[in-house]
């Protein structure tokens, strides 16, 4: 659906995007994950035609963005990071205005607005001025404005910034519903839990480069990050540590706590059994599952929210 090849963009001395390549399949939710300033928005701006690239090719459903920008514009919808609405218009007036730009016939547009307002749960507030809305409600109208023309691809640039957990869940539901209906979604965020919940494939972007891409399990494999079990004992002797190390060579001891990298599903019972054998009294046990945060840390050496 989207093919990006060797894409680069510089602003004066700053090279924001450095020869990145990736492809997005039809019907998938593709996550672009990276810290602030990594180049996510620049990439989205280039893919959504408002920023020209210095180098590289972007194909949207087979159309070159440079030679056919208007065709591409009708194929895509963009949910910008900012709440890009007219505060002094009602939600309905905003949707009507944004829909009219796509030359949707009036009757059809009005019908679509009603359906979308229902989808985002704001039918009853449609005639209220947007300035009277909460942040989460504005975010939902922000999304609705981008899908009125039924785009094949929806770019969502950090769509949950500054919203409460309830509204965030509502936005997740909207994304999932749109995807179920067949819409391809490109989702940028620096919240790894959002990517984990929504995205089937992910590209990790850092310092303008794609560090890794694939499904979460592919990324885990590529980064070679394993989940860990952390056990704290009342006391532990060096002999007891040596016995455990024989069974789990990756074991790290820190005072009364040991950390073992392993597949918890398979090996947790073995660890507990050995601990019982050497008469170690477990005080606390914690499972550290592999997540995008740890993968990102491993791949880039940075925290995602740096």
């Amino acid at each position: 659906m989207i093919q990006v090849t060797n894409l680069s963009k510089s602003f004066d001395q700053l090279q924001a995007v450095k020869k990145i390549s990736f492809s997005i399949n039809k019907g998938e939710v593709f996550g672009l994950l990276g810290p602030n300033g990594a180049g996510k928005s620049t990439t989205i701006n280039m893919m959504s035609t408002i920023l020209s690239s210095d180098e590289g090719i972007i194909l949207i459903d087979g159309n070159d963005i440079e030679s056919s920008p208007n065709t591409c514009k009708t194929l895509i919808g963009v949910v910008p990071q900012e709440i890009s609405l007219y505060d002094d218009f009602t939600a309905y007036e905003n949707l009507l205005f944004w829909g009219q730009l796509y030359k949707i016939p009036s009757k059809e547009l009005k019908e679509r607005i009603e359906i979308i307002l229902e989808l985002i749960g704001l039918s009853e507030r449609k005639n209220d001025l947007v300035k009277t809305y909460s942040g989460g409600m504005k975010r939902r109208i922000n999304i609705a404005s981008a899908i009125l023309h039924k785009p094949k691809i929806l770019f969502m640039d950090e769509p949950t910034v500054g919203v409460d957990p309830q509204s965030r869940n509502r936005i997740f539901e909207i994304v999932e519903n749109l995807n179920k209906e067949g819409m391809t979604i490109v989702y940028t965020t620096h919240y790894m839990e959002e990517v984990e919940r929504l995205c089937s494939r992910i590209a990790i972007i850092d310092d303008g480069k794609i560090v890794a891409q694939g499904t979460q399990s592919e990324l885990q494999k590529e980064s070679n990050v394993k989940e860990t079990i952390e056990i704290r004992f009342q006391t532990i002797t060096s002999t007891q540590v040596e016995i455990l190390k024989e069974a789990f060579p990756s074991l790290i001891q820190n005072n009364q706590t040991i950390t073992v990298a392993c597949d918890a599903n398979k090996e947790l019972s073995t660890i507990i059994s050995i601990c019982n054998t050497v008469k170690l009294q477990i005080e606390d046990l914690k499972l550290n599952k592999v997540n995008l945060e740890t993968i990102f840390l491993k791949l880039t050496g940075k925290q995602l929210r740096d």
Partner: protein, 409 residues
Amino acid sequence: MIHNIFKKDLKLFFADKKGALLTFALPILLISLFAFAFGGVGGNRTAKPVQLLVVDNDFTKDSKEMLSNLEALKGVHTITKEKMAAINLVKKGKYVAVLMVEKGFQDSVALGKSLPLELKYDAAREIEMGMLQSVLMQNLMGSVGKKIINAKMEASFDTNFSGVPKNIKEKALSLMNSDQGGMNAMMGENNVGLQMTSVIKEDAKKGNLGLIQAVAGTAIMMLLFSIAGIGGGLLDEKEAGTLKRLLYSPVKPTDVLFGKMLAALVISMLQLTIMFVFSWMVFGLPIFKDVTSLILMIITTAFAVSSFGIFLVSIAKSRQQLQGYSTIIIMLMSAIGGSMIPLFVMPEIMQQIAVVSVNYWGIQGFYDIFWRSLPLTEILPKMGVLIAIGLGMTLISIRLFKKNVLKMI
């Protein structure tokens, strides 16, 4: 504590360099402009002579002598024209007045009669007229006044002292001539017969000059400010992100600019219309005397002003910049163009500089309609200039919009 707050506020004030510059630069600019306009500052103080059209229908020794004396004066430069052409030029406001020397001038001088002289003038140029009238009267008194008085005295002597020998009569007249004080008094009392006529016919439908100046001048200046404000909406859209969203849709960047300009144009037309209707209702400005010209003038002025407003927005990168630029440029244009001070009270050099201002063409166009009562064909060139200004500004705005506004997204 007060000291710290004082220091902090000064630091903040000077941190905004453009704002600080504006605080000092704008008054300096306006002071310079008004000093130049009213105080005769700049260049030598010798005023440029008033251009006076003359029509000599008598074409006699006396008429030629009088006109030649007039030309010799420092304050006046005469240009001979044919009667109708001269009157038209004054009507259009190109010249301040035409002096018509009618047939019988020399005979009237010889007989001491009132002179067949008429000064047809543009009442919109009060200051120049005052100066010209004074110079003319002095010249007439100097060149033909003595002859008229002599003729009158001789006639009076003949009537009152008939039968007096010729040598006695000549002696008496010579004595009277040598009494300069008496002569001056007689000259002062004597009316040489200069008839003053405004080329603009006084009729019930004609607007009051001051009212036209107030309405047209203020309307255009306020329009510039409000249009700069409307254009500023584009910068608000940029800051709010709606401009970005507009560009995601199948809309060309120039469509965004033209859409904004069209809105500004309609609002400008509405604003001007409301101002004129108000002036009609409250002050009696005769807005229906030439409705076609008025409508066209409103449209062309609104076009020039709205494109100027968009131009201001295109050169600014933020609201603050726009505020700074628009204050300076609009105030200057309004001062130069006659919105703040009527052009006819300004020196000629200022009147020449005025042509660079949108205000000038707008105000002069409204003068043509309400004061000079010119036909549409005579006002069309001014409308053409306003359209040209509008088109020029639009083209520059498109380039600057792409360079300044779109790049900043």
